[in-house]
Amino acid sequence: MDSYQQIILKLKRYWADRGCIIQEPYDSEVGAGTMCPETFLRVLGPKPYRVAYVQPSRRPADGRYGENPNRLYKHQQLQVILKPTPADVIEQYLGSLEAIGIDLSKHDIKFEEDNWESPTLGAWGIGWQVMLDGLEITQFTYFQQCGGIDLDLCPAELTYGLERLAAFLQNKESVYEIEWAPGFTYADVRLEDERQNSVYNFEMADIPTLWKLFDTHEGECQRLIDAFRAIDKDDAGSRARFPVLSTYDQVLKCSNLFNLLDARGAISVTERVGVIARVRKLAVGTAHLWVTQQQTSPEVAA
């Protein structure tokens, strides 16, 4: 039986062997691997890219004080971006399951329609949830739009729910019983994180402070967007060195604060749409900055 970390290592190896850059998690709070610049910004524009990384993803409202065996405040996703999509992408994906020891001849795999959409990112795609013996183990998406922009190439995004996958492979009823490394369970590594952050997110996070932070990051983000737009049309140099990535970090801060406020019950259903629109405006604005910057100075693009 593979440990949790062994499963992750095998998946990374598998995708490294298929030409993926193995990135490390992004160092800012995100709700999903999709929000990392490695996905959100890299899928834009005409440059091919292949990357795989594990991303701890925070969903404050899903926290359960470590008491629910299947729901987590912070879960880990393995995010794979294949841009452009290879024609045998599904075979490659199924191969990755075999690489972690799932004998597909003894299990039931189905691809069930599930289109992905993120209103806060102005992003959507077409795809499936991949069901293994009735368990959703992967979200498979052909990205169509990001930041409100049609994508030049059409990347495939594979998002593996690592805890679910490991619980399945190790035959555990609770994610906390997963063996992370020999002698250490998932609970040993993460339970305290779940407990303490549930207390903070649901009970102690100070709502006025969160709103103040949200407004501050929103302001900083908008200030940067406006600054980029104010750059003279012929001044390619200033555009090329502009901190679009730092601007995007402010979007991520806003998104995480929105999730915290939501978990705290501070956003009424009526307000929700409006706050989502505020974050979306920043995300879409930054995506346009990125595309413009890439077009003006190809040498900056990675």
């Binding site: 629910n68 299947n70 999509t85 039931d108 795999i109 009735g134 368990l135 190439l153």
Partner: protein, 657 residues
């Protein structure tokens, strides 16, 4: 020798609910393709799996026949210069032109010989557009911006005319004669070479059942095997069976179980978890109660080591645990304590919150304490974790919680039912309080949406207002209340909207002919139960011998009155000039309809036919003498107005008009 043609469009997994409409489209598109290209032959069959759309044509010729196309040119009178120009345009010399005569004169023309193309060539040219022309509800591109769109990426194409490949390319995929088998069970990883004749057999050997019906039968037979010798049966679910047929290429059912203790949760919740989240059939005991079992349908041939069963059982356990958690958390705050929370739940941004909504609805439920109490609580389940997770259960959860929290049975049932009927087939709320609440809730939605101009147009009906109006109509007709529809509607465009729904209900749900519906509605549609009774009577009497001829006469009467712009007047019996007038008048006046049911009334009215016929055979209504004419018109006007209270017979379409 006639040829067959086989097309298999190979794709990644297509959403199940889109497949049959796509096949219908393909069938029509191929029929049109054959007709447009003057090719004999027909669509023999279409079928599909999630990964392949298949069409077979039969009776195709080797090629099109040679033909002659006549191209008309300038009039002959335009002279030789014009003829030269036309000939040049046709790429010929003037002596090759001919002339044709039409009713407008004589024209130059050119008879162009067209050499028929081989069938394969016609197909190869037309297929890429035909395939990409399938209209999908939501399609995608996969090769990059600006490239063709389809429901999912196209990965292979089989196109065979007889034994030959019809060669074309689409989204970078070349047509061929090979197809992959089942993703995991296929004997070879490589695509299998097929012919038209062995196509289905070869695929079956590689664990793909091409025909949806065969997959359905395989599922049914498998379930029968699993439950043989028990007193268990599945909860029949045609829509689920349909879905399962189209998410599998080789379906095999398995039987799983869960702990009895979960049966303490409401059956509605358990069934919803199994049905909507896991696509399982629920299993019922002989007494109709839920058994602690489920049936899942795999897309594979067997589960020798029980991995699939135990995996599904574990997923279901986790789902049920979630539901139990929601149930327990929800009970900590009873529905009655959630009313204030509805102020924060938006019904529609320009209409207000659900709190506002229940205030408005409660205001009209003054005479029914149960309905009023139910109204107060009926939207509170929107704030529960259970309904946030299982939105389809709104209403049902409210009803179940109300019962558990000690509300009266009448209140609980009214809440439980108040979204009913959800469709034309669904039943209406079972109690008067439920009917009153459902009616008031739907009417409030309709009035408020119409007030802010949210009126359904075409296929756009985001608030399902048609369904709401249909529900109102159904409840008024089938329920125990005696409200009149138009007393409940205060908005003119909403009245017109309702008239459409009333017509729709009687045509589609009750199967009445549209002219009968027109005839009966003309005589009023506010009292819907009365309208229903009149329509039943009309339907019963329509086939009798005298009815349609009488209806034809009424139509004639209407035309005569309209032409004469006659709006009514007294009958003067002394001015009758003919016996047929007197006979008709006495037949009318002696017809006693008092105390009779609609059907008997109509039967009596039909007996007027000989007198009416005789009248028209004998006299001219438009008699030259104004007095006689006036009197005849008055007689007819009286006849029409007196006997058109059940239905306006002149609306009936008869063979004579």
């Amino acid at each position: 020798m006639a040829l067959d043609f086989l097309l298999e469009i190979g794709s990644e997994e297509i959403p199940d609910w889109m497949i049959e409409p796509a096949l219908d489209h393909l069938k029509g598109a191929f029929t049109k393709l054959l007709a447009d290209n003057k090719l004999k032959g027909a669509v023999a069959w279409t079928d599909a799996t999630p990964r392949r759309l298949v069409v077979q044509l039969s009776g195709l010729p080797q090629g099109q026949k040679d033909s002659v196309e006549t191209v008309s040119g300038p009039p002959k009178s335009a002279g030789e210069g014009a003829a030269m120009g036309f000939a040049r345009k046709m790429g010929v010399t003037p002596d090759q032109l001919e002339t044709i005569k039409s009713d407008k004169g004589e024209y130059f023309c050119f008879k162009r010989k067209l050499t028929g193309k081989p069938t394969g060539e016609v197909l190869a040219a037309a297929l890429p557009q035909l395939i990409l022309g399938i209209p999908w509800p939501k399609n995608m591109y996969w090769l990059g911006k600006g490239t063709p769109r389809f429901i999912r990426p196209i990965r292979w194409i089989v196109a065979l005319l007889g034994s030959k490949i019809v060669e074309f390319e689409i989204t970078g995929v070349k047509s061929g004669n090979t197809t992959p088998g089942h993703r995991r069970l296929a004997k070879s990883k490589k695509p299998i070479k097929v012919s038209i004749k062995n196509y289905e057999q070869k695929l079956l050997e590689n664990f793909v059942v091409v025909r949806a019906n065969a997959r359905r039968q395989k599922i049914e037979a498998g379930i029968a095997d699993l439950l043989a010798g028990t007193d268990l049966a599945i909860k029949q679910d045609a829509a689920l069976a349909h879905t399962l047929c189209y998410i599998t290429e080789y379906p095999t059912p398995i039987l799983g179980s869960f702990a009895e203790s979960y049966l303490a949760l409401p059956a509605e919740v358990l069934v919803t978890v199994m049905r909507h989240h896991q696509k399982y059939f629920s299993v019922l005991r002989a007494d109709g109660s839920l058994a602690p079992n489920f049936i899942a349908v795999m897309n594979t041939d067997s589960d020798p080591e029980g991995f699939v069963r135990s995996g599904n059982e574990r997923v279901l356990r986790a789902r049920f645990n979630d539901a139990r958690f929601f149930y327990e958390v929800d009970q900590k705050k009873p529905l009655a304590a959630r009313v204030e929370d509805l102020k924060n739940v938006t019904f529609q941004k320009d209409i207000g919150s659900y709190y506002d909504k229940i205030q408005r609805v409660a205001a009209v439920l003054t005479n029914d304490a149960d309905a009023r109490r139910a109204c107060e609580l009926c939207k509170c389940d929107l704030t529960t974790d259970m309904v946030k997770e299982f939105t389809d259960l709104q209403g049902l959860i409210g009803g179940l919680y109300a019962r558990a929290q000690g509300e009266s049975e009448a209140v609980a049932q009214a809440i439980y039912d108040h979204y009913k009927p959800l469709s034309m087939e669904d039943s209406i709320p079972s109690t008067p309080a439920g009917q009153r609440l459902a009616l008031a809730d739907k009417l409030d939605t309709l009035h408020e949406c119409f007030r802010i101009g949210m009126i359904p147009t075409g296929s756009k009906d985001p608030f399902a207002l048609r369904r709401a109006a249909q529900g109102v109509v159904k409840i008024l007709i089938e329920g125990s209340l005696d409200s009149k529809l138009l007393d409940l509607v205060s908005n003119d465009s909403l009245k017109a909207f309702f008239e459409d729904r009333v017509r729709y209900y009687f045509r589609e749900a009750r199967g009445h002919a549209y002219d009968e519906v027109n005839a009966a509605i003309t005589c009023g549609w506010s009292d819907l139960k009365d309208l229903a009774a009149r329509l039943e009577a009309l339907k019963a009497v329509r086939p009798t011998a005298d009815f349609e001829p009488l209806a034809a006469s009424f139509k004639r009467i209407r035309n005569i009155l309209e032409q004469a712009a006659f709006t009514g007047g007294a009958i003067d019996i002394t001015s009758f000039a003919d016996d047929s007038e007197r006979n008709l008048h006495s037949a009318m006046t002696s017809l006693n309809l008092r105390g009779l049911g609609y059907r008997e009334q109509l039967e009596r009215i039909a007996t007027l036919r000989p007198a009416v016929d005789k009248f028209f055979d004998t006299v001219l209504v438009n008699a030259p003498e104004p007095l006689i004419r006036q009197n005849r018109l008055a007689l007819l006007h009286h006849l029409r107005s007196e006997f058109s209270r059940i239905a306006d017979f002149s609306e009936i379409i008869t063979s004579s008009n």
